[in-house]
């Protein structure tokens, strides 16, 4: 399949759904959270996106304990992402929906894609999102008794509490600039 054919398929797909974006070769389809399962089923059955690639979430928050905050002000929410792919031509689409932080629930995709089982368990323990209809929504990686949801932006890393980011090593000047500044001092 050449690039133009593949583009036309994605353009066609973009015209079907109300809100899409296709920046950096990444087609995103934005849906309301009550259409979540319905859209995934439609993509699987009508458009050939039969391959379940991954499911995860993003914590959109203005106050972050680690890293950089978003550039522009965002409404605090969880964005759920689910990547589906077509095995005949390698196209992929990322489904995206937003759910409120006060009520982080969404319907599980397990009926459509059984592979979403572990991905949803991971999102559950890392973000605290509950998936309605999941048969075994328990921790996947973290040990029993672990408290907190580590991938939340409010969750602090202990090492960064001790040494704030960026650490001193991170902003160390390049060796050449060191030498030049020293030689300037000598002058």
């Amino acid at each position: 399949m050449n690039q133009s054919e593949s583009n036309s398929i994605l353009e066609n797909l973009a015209s079907i759904f109300a809100k899409t974006s296709n920046d950096y070769d990444t087609l995103k389809i934005y849906v309301e959270n009550d259409e979540w399962v319905q859209t995934a089923t439609k993509l699987k059955e009508e458009h050939g996106f039969v391959f379940f690639s991954w499911l995860s979430a993003v914590d959109w928050e203005n106050e972050v304990s680690v890293g950089d905050p978003p550039k522009e002000h965002v409404d605090p929410s969880f964005e759920i992402l689910c990547c589906l792919s077509d095995v005949s031509d390698g196209n992929f689409a990322i489904l995206s929906t937003k759910i409120e932080k006060t009520n982080p629930t969404i319907t599980s995709l397990i009926e459509v894609f059984p592979g979403s089982n572990w991905h949803e368990r991971e999102a559950y323990e890392m973000f605290g999102i509950s998936f309605v209809g999941h048969p075994n929504l328990t921790k996947l990686y973290l040990p029993d008794g672990f408290e907190g949801n580590p991938l939340l932006k409010s969750y602090e890393l202990l090492t960064r509490e001790v040494k704030p980011w960026p650490g001193e090593v991170d902003v160390e000047p390049m060796p050449e600039s060191d030498i030049s500044s020293e030689s300037e001092k000598e002058k």
Binding site: Y24, T26, F51, S53, W118, R160, W165
Partner: protein, 398 residues
């Protein structure tokens, strides 16, 4: 004179011991986390009835290092070091999609020569990874000899990777915008930039030709072994529709008959310049999974041979700022790794590090199908099936 045995009237067998209806009690068998056939620290909790498995629940997390969180507190160049350690059998391949995602957001055009070097090393890492499988898999089934041959041939590839990158397992060789100047290739002054080490092309050609011969040897030694065939043919059949619904990718998916190879459908590396086949299986059983990987070694060796003939000259690095800041944006870049689809969903807010980095690893999705495929199989087949999935726990737990 021939004697016939009347089963009704055997003098030495008591009545009860010939009864085939033995009442067995279900029990829970714990396999791992420290078990030689689990490739690391995977624990399986199996409900067994006699030798038959009725239900398996994999328990993960013994290797969880939290790379997605760690990536949020590191700069982009630092993350390359982290992602090297996801699938340590083919460390080099893990860097490629991350670097490609960063370059996509920065809109950096990588020099052709750097792309070719990346491609060659990726294919070498694939060969090394598949050799580990080719040695370890017969071992799990009971054949010890192939391991020694496999390790010898893998060493040829690792030596080549080491001669270029300086590292055997964790090269950390890719830079945003190109590759690092090669190790041991002369001075690093700007006039005389380091490139591939002296004699690299000849050594690569020799090694790849030896590897092509080694593949024939493996086909006879392993594929011609009746015990191996009996243990793997028709065992652990994975239908294509189940494989896709679980997100099983790579050689396992292709063994089930689906021709899905991201090398041909995406442009993260210039694979379109090369002539190679995508081997697929027919039955989706353990034998096909072994056979597809063996064929892939051949194809990868052919790609490397073509690459050393056609590698363009030119710079190794595009011009990038000294302090890497990635413009705000979001993209998903995926690559065909030896284990399957590996991808990075990178969300940048314009800072020194990503806002969120979702790491999609192949083995995690691949082994999520284990509860489905292990239902109703016998315990000896459990080892044959798990071995044929060729997973690495670092790739499962991240």
């Amino acid at each position: 004179m021939t004697t016939t045995i009347d089963p009704e009237n055997l003098p030495f067998v008591s009545e009860t011991s010939v009864s085939v209806e033995i009442e067995t009690e279900g029990m829970i068998l714990n396999i791992g986390p420290q078990h030689p056939s689990t490739h690391g620290v995977l624990r399986l909790v199996a409900k067994v009835d006699g030798e038959k498995i009725s239900n398996v629940e994999p328990v993960l997390g013994y290797m969880h290092r939290g790379y997605e969180k760690l990536a949020e507190v590191r700069t982009y160049p630092q993350i390359t070091t982290l992602v090297n350690r996801i699938d340590w059998v083919s460390g080099f391949c893990n860097e490629i999609p991350f670097i490609a995602a960063t370059e996509k957001l920065m809109e950096v055009e990588v020099p052709e020569r750097a792309k070719y070097i990346r491609l060659m090393l990726t294919e070498m890492a694939r060969i090394a990874s598949h050799f580990v499988f080719n040695g370890a898999y017969p071992l799990e089934i009971g054949a010890l000899t192939p391991l020694f041959y496999a390790m010898e041939d893998r060493e040829r590839v690792l030596d080549l990777i080491e001669s270029v990158t300086g590292g055997r397992f964790h090269p950390n060789f890719n830079r945003i915008g190109g590759v690092k100047p090669a190790a041991g290739a002369g001075p690093a002054t700007k006039k005389d930039i380091q490139d591939l080490p002296a004699g690299f092309y000849k050594e690569t050609r020799d090694a790849m030709e030896t590897i092509l011969l080694a593949c024939d040897k493996f086909e006879d030694l392993v594929g011609g072994n009746e015990v191996f065939v009996a243990r793997t043919k028709g065992v652990g059949v994975l239908p294509p529709e189940v494989a896709t619904a679980y997100g099983v990718s790579g050689p396992i998916l292709r063994a089930s008959g689906i021709k899905f190879d991201l090398r041909t459908t995406t442009d993260y590396l210039p694979y379109k310049d090369f002539d190679y086949d995508i081997p697929i299986g027919e039955n989706g059983d353990c034998f096909d999974r072994w056979f597809v990987r063996l064929q892939e070694i051949r194809e990868s060796a052919k790609i490397v041979l073509q690459a050393i003939d056609s590698i363009p000259s030119g710079p190794l690095q595009a011009k990038v700022p000294k302090i890497i800041k990635v413009p705000a944006g979001e993209c998903y870049v995926r690559a065909e790794n030896p284990k399957g689809e590996m991808g990075y969903h990178l969300i940048s807010e314009g800072g020194l590090g990503p806002y969120r980095l979702k790491i999609r690893t192949a083995s995690f999705s691949n082994i999520s199908v284990l509860p489905w495929i292990l239902e109703g199989v016998l315990i000896p087949d459990l080892l044959a099936i798990m071995g044929s999935f060729d997973f690495v726990l670092g790739d499962v737990d991240r």
